[in-house]
Assembly symmetry: C2
Homo-oligomer: 311 residues x 2
């Protein structure tokens, strides 16, 4: 099978371990690498071994690098600082977080500036909303609130809330679920936006913890509505990437550690896909008969690309 | 149509407003009335008008009264006190709460006494579990806990937890979701029990708030598992009622304000069903073409039974 007129090694129709030959082919056939962060670049706050060398190698080959994360806890600015603190030189423009995607979704849909956004989530969402010119309620501000049980007491919600954005929230509480439910159920036309629906994720390097999917499912249950999802695997973020970098998705490779978000996102948008086993997916999960999401290639971690290219 | 040899008025094949004639027929044809509490007996902590008279009338006609509530916040003992505080003389034996049902489910399934139960929920669940001889973790004890974000920090969970019970929890937090998820995902054979899946309920008399369905959905999302439901509309509680009172379900009438729990529970177990409009269901919801759960009868509130019988 040939691509761009050059002879290619056997291209995987089903996941294949990355080899020296396919690594070279992959690098030659794409112009941009899209990376998930948690489980690919770092675990919690710990850099994964060999990542700086891998990114440096790909940059030196002239590849565009883009970081696409479902984690909504930080804004793009804060992510750039996290990269820097780990010794990685990545600019804000190279980062696409689901917090940013939520703000862009509202902007693209001409969300009125006089409407407010209620947030179940952390600073990242609030910061991106404010950068986009929107006014937020909830989020970190409501972390210590509770519902009063006295007779006649009720939570008065703001009728000008026109969107509820739900993302990962380590300080989620009953009050926030109640407030979000009131807005979605009672404010006509109120949007319900999920940054993503990941079941689990790495908050620290040692253990998987509930992801945004936990909070999103809770609000789905109380509102009996389904959200618009802006993070992976929804193709929403790809629209920006394509416009920003003017690269066709067939010339991109999505690298991630999750089948149901990263690899599905890559496949949904026409990218090549590479699964790394340094995060939540094990080889046995990949090869389990119940799995029906198959990347083009898989490899142990990002650094193995460098090793394979140098062989 | 005749029942028990006596001539009956037209029996509803589709919901019919309760009339003098059908009220008399209903009272004559059943031996026990099963009542939901929230929206039928009270709203939050406020008694619904005319309830004492209605219960008194049915008792004076020799009817057995049973109170079947999905609300797991209280134990049966605490519910008896609540009835008393509202001026209603109801004994513990007449009360079946979903907190009690959860404990009975474990007992019937020979849950080992050396295994522990992790609770997302309030005192009612913990009390019923302890009355049944089980040891609990979580619940009110974990209300102020949070997940630490330091590198290398992790939540150590108890490997002897053999069941997670999830009910309504006004002090739910991320730590509880995380702990419950760890138990269900990592302890082999760990049961996942939901007291109920109500989307909303009355915590106070003024406003509907998220129900246990909110917390249950969150744990379903993180564990990618479905729970055993012991509350309405699951028929689990009916087994006790039938054994305790030795009354055939065809001689029972389930009275409730919710179509998807109370009325469905009655129908699933072969009871007659009466919807009261004093709670969460409006006449327009009942008659909406999208509704496919139809009680035998409906009426405005419990007191209207008295009025119709006296006509």
């Amino acid at each position: 099978m040939a691509e761009n007129g050059r002879q290619a090694p056997k291209l995987a129709s089903f996941h294949a371990p990355l080899s020296s030959e396919t690594a070279r082919f992959l690098v030659d056939s794409v112009d941009a690498f899209l990376f998930d962060c948690d489980g690919v670049i770092w675990k919690g706050d710990k850099l994964i071994d060999g990542v700086p060398e891998a990114l440096q190698t790909l940059r030196s080959l002239g590849k565009k690098l883009v970081f696409v994360t479902n984690n909504s806890r930080r804004s793009r600015g804060k992510y750039a600082k996290k990269f820097l603190s780990l010794g990685l030189d990545v600019s804000e423009d190279e980062i696409f977080s689901s917090s940013f995607a939520a703000a862009m979704f509202l902007k693209l849909n001409n969300f009125p500036q006089d409407k407010k956004v209620y947030v179940i989530g952390e600073e990242g969402i609030v910061e991106e909303m404010e950068l986009a010119g929107f006014t937020c309620l909830g989020g970190p501000e409501d972390r210590d609130k509770s519902v009063q049980l006295k007779s006649n007491s009720m939570v008065e919600h703001d009728k000008s809330v026109g969107a509820v954005v739900v993302g990962l929230d380590l300080h989620v509480n009953y009050y926030k679920f109640h407030y979000a439910t009131l807005c979605i159920r009672e404010n006509p036309g109120c949007l319900f936006i999920a940054t993503n629906r990941d079941a689990l994720g790495h908050i620290t390097d040692t253990q998987e913890c509930p992801g945004a999917g936990c909070m999103v499912a809770a609000v789905c249950a109380t509102t009996e509505k389904e959200p618009v999802v802006v993070g992976k695997p929804s193709p929403f973020m790809m629209d920006f990437l394509v416009k920003r970098f003017q690269i066709n998705t067939s010339r991109m490779c999505m690298v991630g550690d999750r089948l149901d978000t990263d690899i599905l996102f890559g496949q949904n948008t026409g990218c090549k896909t590479l699964l790394v086993l340094s995060g939540v997916t094990s080889l046995s999960t990949l090869e389990d008969p119940s799995n029906n999401i198959h990347p083009d290639y898989y490899t142990s971690n990002l650094f193995s690309i460098v090793e394979l290219l140098n062989k």
